[in-house]
Symmetry: C2
Subunit: 427 residues, 2 copies
Amino acid sequence: MTPEQPRSSDRHHVVIVGAGFGGLEATYRLAGAPVRITLLDRRNHHLFQPLLYQVATASLATSEIAWPIRYLLRGRPEVTTLFATVSGVDVQGKRVLLDDGDSLPYDTLILATGVRHAYFGHDEWEPFAPGLKTLEDATTLRRRILVAFERAERETDPQRRAALLTFVIVGAGPTGVELAGTIAELAKDTLPPDFRNIDTRSTRVVLIEAGPRVLAGFPDDLSAYAQRSLESLGVEVMLNEAVTECSADGVVYGGKTLQARTLIWAAGVRASPAAEWLGAPHDRAGRLQVNPDLTVSGHPDIFAIGDTVAIDGPDGKPVPGIAPAAKQQGRYVAQTIKARLRGETLGPFRYRHSGSLAQIGKHKAVIDFGRFKLRGAIAWWIWGIAHIYFLIGLRNRLSVAISWLWIHARDQRAARLITQGSSKVAR
Amino acid sequence: MTPEQPRSSDRHHVVIVGAGFGGLEATYRLAGAPVRITLLDRRNHHLFQPLLYQVATASLATSEIAWPIRYLLRGRPEVTTLFATVSGVDVQGKRVLLDDGDSLPYDTLILATGVRHAYFGHDEWEPFAPGLKTLEDATTLRRRILVAFERAERETDPQRRAALLTFVIVGAGPTGVELAGTIAELAKDTLPPDFRNIDTRSTRVVLIEAGPRVLAGFPDDLSAYAQRSLESLGVEVMLNEAVTECSADGVVYGGKTLQARTLIWAAGVRASPAAEWLGAPHDRAGRLQVNPDLTVSGHPDIFAIGDTVAIDGPDGKPVPGIAPAAKQQGRYVAQTIKARLRGETLGPFRYRHSGSLAQIGKHKAVIDFGRFKLRGAIAWWIWGIAHIYFLIGLRNRLSVAISWLWIHARDQRAARLITQGSSKVAR
């Protein structure tokens, strides 16, 4: 665009791995800098993870919360988007290694590779209690939830039918709370008129949490409110209970066995292997320990941001693994790179907590803005408007607004589809 | 609802296998009859197949053209919907056999089990040239099409890159024509600004047809118009060419090899195994040969309707395998069952051809209403309005209208998602 720029291949080359909230924000904020950028992701889409639980519960379609990464950057000729999987980093040669044998040189590297759910040494539980991080995770959960009701409709044995109509969510953070509330509403409001042999209102939704309260990241009173709201939706909240076994039959916790055919894991995460690629220090969850300027120790040309990083905020508490934190870090790193190219330096990264939000069913939410707290219907409206605001593009905003309108006005959920499995192969 | 009805289990039991256009229409039209109905399908959703090619080409989301079957019948307490796969029929015992060992008694049976795509004795071609009949087929094609562009962006060898940017569609019926036109527009209008290393406008879309013209079911002049329109979109139309080989490298036709990494099969269908279940006469494509009242010979209590049936219309030509034909047959069978329960009989089924429509790219269509024919932009508007009209529910009509508006106004396609495969596993 600007005529006097050097040939693009001579420019400082920033390689960004991961097009989540952090990686995408860094790419956006590097606009206008004298760099060329390569953005790598092993998916072709950026995912709006805060609403992923709504895909898992048939409320939203996959395409309503995902955008092709290269489409988002179509107006940025200096950005090349590559659909590729990173397998390591050659820090000496300054190259990113790809799983197909290719590699890519970098001048500056930004690792924004996120997390997966983790089973604390019990990976054998994953087939029975899948987690929720990707679109495929969401459509898998959606299939399992919907198939459980379908199979219950055909089951004549009361015990097996009860197990099919028991849904267990392990972990009562925002994802667990939001899943539990939405599944309860699906069973109580959306599905009853559609079934003949079962009363879906008899569905049990059990939320098991190892800690002493739900939404541990929120103030005590909002946690208590969230628990009461869940219980009024019919969710059974079990606190201070550690799950000791997940199997095809159900879960074991506190020595008790709960027969359930659908388990969902929302209890913990493990960072991507970025720390292994670099041989760099990390915490127990695999998160990279970074310098105050978000560079990796001994590698001033490598930044790490987002969920894959462990760093403390100004209040001494860990920066939470949420979208606004990743975006702040992406913005900070972009500014740091721009400053360096001008020969300047910036102060350390300072996290500013803007607030925490969680939805509890279709009419309630809790919001903690620090200075003020909100709960109930008004909080739900703020929650809804904020999420529509943060979606990308008018088309998806319209589409999600219509989907929510139908859920609220008619208890009709847009995407009750069982895919990747006919009745023959569906578990 | 009506107080004096007999206990529902004493009622005449109609079992309907398949909730496509025919099976669903029969269910709707039996409303008010003194029967109870069980509707079986191995999918949980009714699919609007005429727009399936738009899911395959990233224009529409899966949930925009599919509805949970039991939701559509929520207001009909005498209808039980079961998510189940039929494996046979015990005509002596009058029972439908399910693949899990269960069975279901019927008084009257309606088979509306449809077709799959067929390879004319070359089933080994299926992995290389998938067809398009289910939602999973559509998301598989979508993944292959989008991955081909992604891999071309990273490919440096010119020959391999050209093969990645060559898309071959085998069969120039409505599905083949609609796929070819839409892929050409995707490459020419939607994708160019998003790629840096390739010019997606250099994409080749090749439509191979064994017969002498495209859209063989339409009048000659509309076929010629459709071919010209496709060619103006850049589609290469090869007529009178039989494909003799499909492989990972491409296709062979007329002794020539065309290197292509993406092949799509739109060349033929084979009926579901309903004829095998009954040991009844069928044509070469496996379609049941039925009596003029759509009953199966020797089985007056078994009807067969829709694509799985071969029957001639009043003009002596075969009834086409399209949605309006299946719906007419579903309606006729419902009326026949009602008449029989009153002790009456109806005359034979008479097919009335209401018209044929096909879209060619986003601004043109051809319509053959028999008495009058239409082509071009006005035909496209009629095509679009007709398809939105036949969608079910205001929500999906709104949603599809918005999706089409964005395609037309901004060349932005709603669902450019590669799912069920990261860059690591995507072919």
